[in-house]
């Protein structure tokens, strides 16, 4: 009877019970009919019926048991016997269960991460229809990441039919005051279409109306679930309360559900983006998300948007920004799915890690298959007896499969426990770039996956011994030596050993490449000194600090107090710290240099800095001078540029003394953007976004001549100095300064909140965190595979030696040198290891393309890594072979001959 049929019977227990009960009732009724027909009274008839039938209930149970037990019994018995057999060899069972637990646990944990982060990263309805409406420009050497302008947004809104809805948004920091401590929170200003595009609506209250998204509309705010809970204790009457954001009152109208984390999990509140088409084309201040219509692909969307981009001058006739973008930038749509935009980068790393732990599971299965081979041979006689007594092949197969299934289920259960712990560890230590990190847990799907892995492993390592060389055809008198079946089994064993070596080497090479990349990344000169420096940011509310002058004055007061703190050597400030992204950017013109239509002006990142910024950060000065406190106080129209910008604008020329203009349409008074600014110095490059990026052109200007709250963003004067980052270099541990720093800011204005308190070192560490994560995961997989591989080689070689003990005894008795016996065994093991390593190297070479995107600074075929890891593996393998070989050589011939 098939197992499925058995299961069916067990499930049918109730139905069976019911049928039998009805059948028995009929029987009793028929006896009663008969008795009554014979003249018995009702009561007597019933009693007689009971007597003749016997005890109904007892029989019913018996009948049921007969059916169910005969079906389940044999399977259960086989399982119990298998469990007993396994318990009788605890070393074998423990080794197998631990190996499996390790491998299955690693797979389950990584699967948990992959499932949450990659398979389902966006918790929005039909999230596969959502796209990120990004743009890029080949001319500016910005392949993507430019975001969007108002002009393109309105152009698409009016004319793109392949999009169902578009929402424009921009995120920034605001200080929330009242109801407790002032606090910096991340706020996203979005067009009122956002909720409809995402198809997520507030869990409490309502979303913005269209009117609230018009300029001059009432101030409204929708809070995140997290902010509502944390700051307002989940107040059920939150709707209608008023909050103060950077000095501006806004009424809370709703709270979004906890799962809504758009554009990212740090956003605490949403405000309406109050814009209209009549405000003009504008500049690249925004990002946009859109929902594609059904049946439309991202490629379809791009091919619809690109002609609309080309036609932008007609949509905004005479708008200088539209003209500038159309003629000088040559924008193209780089729309991509929101999923790709969110997890594209981490996806490759995670798939690689999942593949790595998959290989580890294969190595583990190969190991256990080997153990099983040994075990099945040891029990050849037992199996022979079973065969002689008439057990079929299927019965013998069941005998082995019961063991492997039990082992792998135990391993799977232990693995699940391990995975549970590992997932907690991953959540606390994983890089912040993992979206939905906090939500990662082992759910039903992960448990099902673990179960599936267990069953597949059971079949894998249970079937190999059965398939090849299991003693299915064994007879009672077979000695098991020198015959073809045992030679076949040795062959299988060597094959498994070679496969282990190959897989372990593939993982070793991958981890070697990751480690070298990580080293290279850590060796990147960040261009500044990250040691012993604290950084934090402050945002000045416009209500209290309405102008650039008032903002600069506040910064100067804070800097004075910071410099006076004990242990502080230097303090300065910048609108944009290295490796933190989000800097103001614009293209530049060199004064006196004619503009040709074919060479566009290069884009640069702008930073407004306080005096002494380069000294405080430890950014090397290469030429000229730095920006001093005096320059800031006098508002000198000067600039310091980065090496990359100097190379780009002035190859082979002296940059000092040249004048730069930022590329902006002329204002009413005839002035253009910032400047002209005189270049007074050139400093070393610092990374803007990532350590791996190629140097980005940067321009530093005194904060007193940059942008401020009174300048519209389209004036393109420079970064708004209301939001600034302070840097404090200290002779004491920077973290110890935090409270003193907070007090210094408080003393200037208690309504200011300091945010993003971190050390420069932490900023650098964070920049390599994702690679560190991938490296550590793959390295752990490689080490586990190596250990399992070594155990596998050692086990196989030991077994081969023990099987050949008598042969070795004969050789030694006939005068063979122990050394030559040792060499013989080593040669045998070595040949398998070398063959395995060769295959491993070939596989690694063939799959090098897969890992290339994860590497930095080395090629995926880096010879030193390949040679180093291969040598290491061969040496370790040789050692694992040598121990059994030495034991063979040290055998006394007499003992060896007696052994059989």
């Amino acid at each position: 009877m098939s197992p499925i049929r058995r299961l069916w019977n067990v499930m049918r227990r109730n139905q069976l019970d019911d049928e039998l009960r009805r059948e028995v009732d009929t029987h009793l009724a028929l006896i009663e009919d008969e008795e009554r027909a014979g003249g018995a009274s009702e009561g007597v008839a019933r009693r007689h019926a009971r007597e003749r039938f016997g005890s109904t209930l007892v029989h019913r149970e018996q009948a049921l048991d007969t059916v169910i037990m005969t079906s389940v019994e044999s399977a259960w018995k086989e399982t119990v016997f298998a469990a007993r057999r396994l318990l009788r060899s605890p070393a074998f069972s423990l080794a197998a269960v631990l190996t499996l637990a390790l491998a299955i646990g690693a797979n389950a944990a990584i699967f948990g991460v992959v499932e949450r982060v990659l398979l389902n990263p966006l918790p929005y309805p039909d999230s596969d229809r959502l796209i990120d409406l990004d743009h890029g420009s080949q001319l500016l050497n910005l392949p993507s990441g430019m975001g969007i302008t108002r002009g393109y947004y309105y152009q698409y809104l009016e004319r793109a039919h392949r999009l169902e809805g578009i929402a424009l948004y921009a995120s920034g920091a605001e200080t929330i005051t009242g109801d407790g401590e002032p606090q910096r929170i991340r706020v996203t200003r979005a067009t009122t279409s956002l909720a409809a595009v995402m198809r997520v609506w507030p869990e409490v209250g309502r979303w913005f109306t269209e009117d609230e998204g018009k300029p001059g509309g009432p101030a409204r705010a929708v809070l995140s679930h997290g902010l509502w809970m944390r700051r307002y204790g989940g107040d059920p009457r939150i709707v209608g309360r008023s909050i103060t954001l950077s000095g501006v009152q806004a009424d809370v109208i709703g709270v979004m559900p906890a799962s809504f984390a758009f554009p990212d999990a740090r956003v605490e509140a949403w405000l309406p983006q109050q814009i209209t088409r009549s405000m003009g084309f504008g500049i690249w201040l925004y990002a946009a998300v859109a929902r594609m219509r059904d049946g439309v692909s991202v490629e379809d969307v791009r091919s619809e948007l690109n002609p609309l981009i080309a036609d932008i001058e007609n949509a905004f006739p005479g708008d200088p920004f539209a003209i500038g973008n159309s003629r000088n930038i040559k924008t193209t749509s780089t729309a991509r799915t929101l999923k790709e935009a969110t997890v594209g980068e981490i996806a490759r790393a995670l798939w690689m890690v999942l593949a790595s732990v998959g290989l580890v599971l294969l190595v583990a299965c190969a190991n256990i298959a080997n153990l099983f081979l040994v075990r099945s041979e040891a029990r050849q006689r037992e199996v022979g007896v079973r065969l002689a007594l008439g057990a079929g092949r299927a019965g013998i197969a069941r005998y082995f499969i019961a063991e492997s299934v039990l082992l792998s289920l135990a391993g799977g259960a232990a693995g699940l426990a391990l995975a549970w712990g590992a997932v907690r560890l991953l959540v606390s230590a994983g890089p912040a770039t993992l979206p939905r990190l906090g939500e990662i847990r082992l759910d039903g799907l992960a448990v099902a996956y673990t179960f599936l892995l267990s069953v597949v492993s059971a079949v894998a390592f249970g079937a190999i011994p059965l398939w090849h060389g299991a003693p299915l055809g064994a007879t009672l008198n077979e000695g098991g030596r020198g015959n073809t079946t045992s030679r076949e089994r040795h062959r299988v064993r060597r094959l498994l050993m070679g496969a282990q070596v190959a897989m372990a080497l593939v993982l070793l090479i991958a981890s070697g490449l990751m480690i070298r990349s990580f080293q290279k990344l850590r060796d990147v000169d960040p261009g500044f000194n990250p040691a012993s420096a604290l950084a934090f940011s402050v945002a000045l509310p416009t209500a209290t600090y309405p102008s650039r002058v008032s903002a600069v004055a506040a910064h100067r007061q804070i800097l004075d107090r910071l410099s006076a703190l004990p242990g502080v050597n230097a303090a300065s400030a910048s609108t944009c710290l290295p490796l933190s992204g989000g800097c103001f950017g614009n293209t530049l013109l060199v004064r006196g240099r004619p503009q040709s239509p074919n060479s566009t002006s290069p884009p640069a990142r702008f930073q407004a800095v306080a005096g002494g910024y380069f000294e405080t950060m430890g950014i090397r000065l290469l030429r000229g001078r730095t920006i001093t406190r005096g320059d800031v106080e006098r508002g000198e129209l000067i600039a310091v540029i980065s090496e990359a910008l100097a190379r780009r604008l002035f190859p082979g020329e002296e940059p000092i003394g040249q004048y730069l203009l930022s590329n902006a349409p002329p204002r009413a008074d005839g002035t253009i953007g910032a400047g002209p600014l005189e270049i007074v110095g050139v400093v070393a490059d610092t990374p803007v976004q990532t350590l791996a990026e190629s140097p980005v052109s940067q321009l530093y200007m005194p904060m007193s001549i940059a942008g401020g709250p009174e300048f519209p963003a389209t004036a393109l004067v420079g970064p708004d100095v209301s939001n600034i980052n302070f840097v404090v270099r200290s002779s004491i541990a920077p973290a110890a300064l935090t409270s003193a720093v907070r007090a210094a800011v408080d003393a200037v204005d208690p309504q200011l909140a300091i945010a993003r308190v971190t050390t420069l070192q932490a900023i650098v560490d964070r920049a390599s965190a994702q690679m560190a994560f991938t490296m550590v995961m793959i390295a752990i997989a490689a080490i586990v595979a190596l250990l399992l591989g070594i155990v596998g080689i050692y086990g196989v070689m030991s077994y081969i030696v023990s099987q050949r003990t008598s042969e070795i005894g004969v050789r030694l008795a006939l005068g063979a040198e122990p050394r030559s016996v040792e060499a013989m065994i080593l040669r045998q093991g070595g040949a398998v290891a070398v063959a395995g390593a060769t295959i491993g190297v070939m596989v690694a070479l063939a799959s090098s393309r897969l890992i290339a995107s994860l590497l930095y600074g080395i090629t995926p075929r880096d010879p030193s890594v390949f040679v180093g890891t291969t040598l290491m593996l061969l040496i370790v393998s040789a050692l694992a072979c040598w121990l059994p070989a030495r034991r063979a050589a040290r055998l006394s011939p007499l003992d060896a001959l007696r052994a059989d």
């Binding site: 059948e23 009929t26 029987h27 009724a29 028929l30 003749r52 039938f53 016997g54 007969t66």
Partner: protein
């Protein structure tokens, strides 16, 4: 799968059920009990309820086929018929029975 072939008592009951059903066609449990009483002239007293475990088991072994139907008196009952496998089993049981009884007879004669 245990076949209970060496359990004589059970084997006897199986043989009896198979033989009677094979001869009479579809019968329900009560009818079968009646036939056993008639056939053995009440010399083999069995608890009628003990038929059911045997019927269940034999159905499960696919020797018998069970189908719901209506009795002459209009009651719902399960009717059992012998299958092809059941007929083969019957031949087997009969052969064994003959062998066994012959052996017993011979032993008794010599005793």
């Amino acid at each position: 799968m245990p076949k209970h072939s060496n359990d004589r008592l059970q084997g006897t009951l199986d043989l009896l059920i198979l033989k009677l059903l094979d001869r009479s066609g579809p019968l329900h449990g009560y009818g079968l009990a009646q036939r056993i009483h008639q056939a053995t002239a009440d010399s083999l007293r069995i608890e009628e309820g003990s038929l059911y475990p045997a019927l269940q088991r034999m159905t499960h072994e696919k020797w018998l086929k069970a189908q719901w139907g209506t009795t002459d008196t209009g009651r719902k009952a399960r009717f059992y018929t012998v299958t092809a496998a059941g007929r083969k089993q019957l031949e087997e049981e009969e052969r064994r029975w003959v062998t066994l009884t012959e052996a017993v007879n011979r032993a008794l004669r010599f005793a």
